[in-house]
Point group: C2
Amino acid sequence: MSETSVLVLDADPPPRLDRLEGRARVLHADAKSLAERLPEADVLLVWDFLSDAVREAWPGGGARPRWVHTPSAGVDRLLPELAGSDVVLTNARGVFDQPIAEYVAGLVVAMAKDFFGSRELQRQRRWKHRETMRVGGTRAVVVGSGPIGRKTGRTLQALGVEVDLVGRTERDGDPDFGRVHGGAALHGLLGGADWVVCVAPLTEATRGMFDAAAFARMKPGARFINVGRGQHVVEDDLVEALLEHRIAGAALDVFAAEPLPVESRLWDVPGLVLSPHMSGDTVGWRDDLATQFLDNFDRWYAGEPLLNVVDKQLGYVPGG
Amino acid sequence: MSETSVLVLDADPPPRLDRLEGRARVLHADAKSLAERLPEADVLLVWDFLSDAVREAWPGGGARPRWVHTPSAGVDRLLPELAGSDVVLTNARGVFDQPIAEYVAGLVVAMAKDFFGSRELQRQRRWKHRETMRVGGTRAVVVGSGPIGRKTGRTLQALGVEVDLVGRTERDGDPDFGRVHGGAALHGLLGGADWVVCVAPLTEATRGMFDAAAFARMKPGARFINVGRGQHVVEDDLVEALLEHRIAGAALDVFAAEPLPVESRLWDVPGLVLSPHMSGDTVGWRDDLATQFLDNFDRWYAGEPLLNVVDKQLGYVPGG
């Protein structure tokens, strides 16, 4: 096998790719130089996975890499441009399951127990006992039946929450959830949920799915959590639902525009808890992501099938 | 059986005791009148379980109730005064297990993921991505091997935490925790813990157990959570440990003095999260507590053995 060229779309800090030594030549590009360098690459590592540069450069002229890896769970920043070619696209399936499941479980308890209210009272030096919500026995609808959604659902189950998992297509006999509901069932499930959690991939089927109609289905006591993509939510509709007390609260880790502009109205909507797209990003995550790519490179180099191959039509890695 | 007199040490709101009708005469007392009314009572329901009135009135003259029920897990406000008599003392074992376990699990995630830091950044309209702590794979020492401690430990295990449970006496072969460590092992375990959680009953053996010597054993990255009793902690030693960064953070739901005085230095120690003794108090908790008493009254009235009988020497309900 001739030396492979691995092109890295750089982000800071860079990935540790020492393991490639002797097997691959590592090239670097930024958003500007990407289009020019793409034809030289056998493999593209989209280390700057928050960039739209690949989508913009891909339709240009010349040869294209045969394999593109994005160290993210979502591949929405690469589609539909890559879908038309025969490139193999892989993602970071698996790395974020546990951290995001923990994060969502923590948000559920934090909202149930009014941790943020207690924090504000602490600032004011006020002792004010309240009765809070018992999490055990509540119901959650988790939208997204991939590994992150499944792990999130199982973690909520461990807290005593009844979980309805919603995927693209309905199926029965799931070992953890019994029935996995299809997307068409979502609106019917929302009315019974204390927690509505979005961990879905962003596809044309899921874009904007949390809109005024969806929020109108939810209970006044319901709380909404989005750790998927900002574009899953019609943000103005969520703000209205919160301001009119049609739902009790929400937590967003992702936004239509990131970083969230300082002038956004989202920052100070009552009942809305924000964090800066970090639910999956635990200490060492970049090393985990680099290692996952390198492990897959070993397979590539040995001529073995790659892991975590995305179905570019569906927009995620299919199965289990 | 002649009509039983049930004396209620009142608190607001009062308990719903309709089920006693026809079987018991319900008398009421407040802290002032308690001593005078005690001799009339067969049963004392310490509805105001935060009061020290029973401890103060008990040593006085006249007959004493044969059964005292406190709708709390801890019985420290009744001992040692009741320990010298042959009164049967029962508590609210069981009611608080799930809520407190949820609360502790939520605090663990909230601190791991810096929810409170994100909230402050939200107030400032600042987008600041951080890497946070993965909860799965961390280690916790949970002090207290009663039902609340066990449920807390199992809930943390469900989040992927390795849990060392510490009780009064060492025992092996526990189905959930393998070895339950004895109190003497505590200091040896603290150095390995990311989380140190106190859910112990307050006894002479546990009073002040979290002191400078204990905090000195913990890692700089360790966080301490107290949902037991304020007197488990030497609060000044905790403040020093936090100010000198000998541990990374703490959350207190209970305090040596409650309500926490407005002038307390605890309110604004960096890294210290406070809440007003509410970890177990979920909506409907007072009804649950009244029902638990009434169920036990049914047994009393039928001449059956009571449930949740406290060992007044140990200071808690022994076993399991």
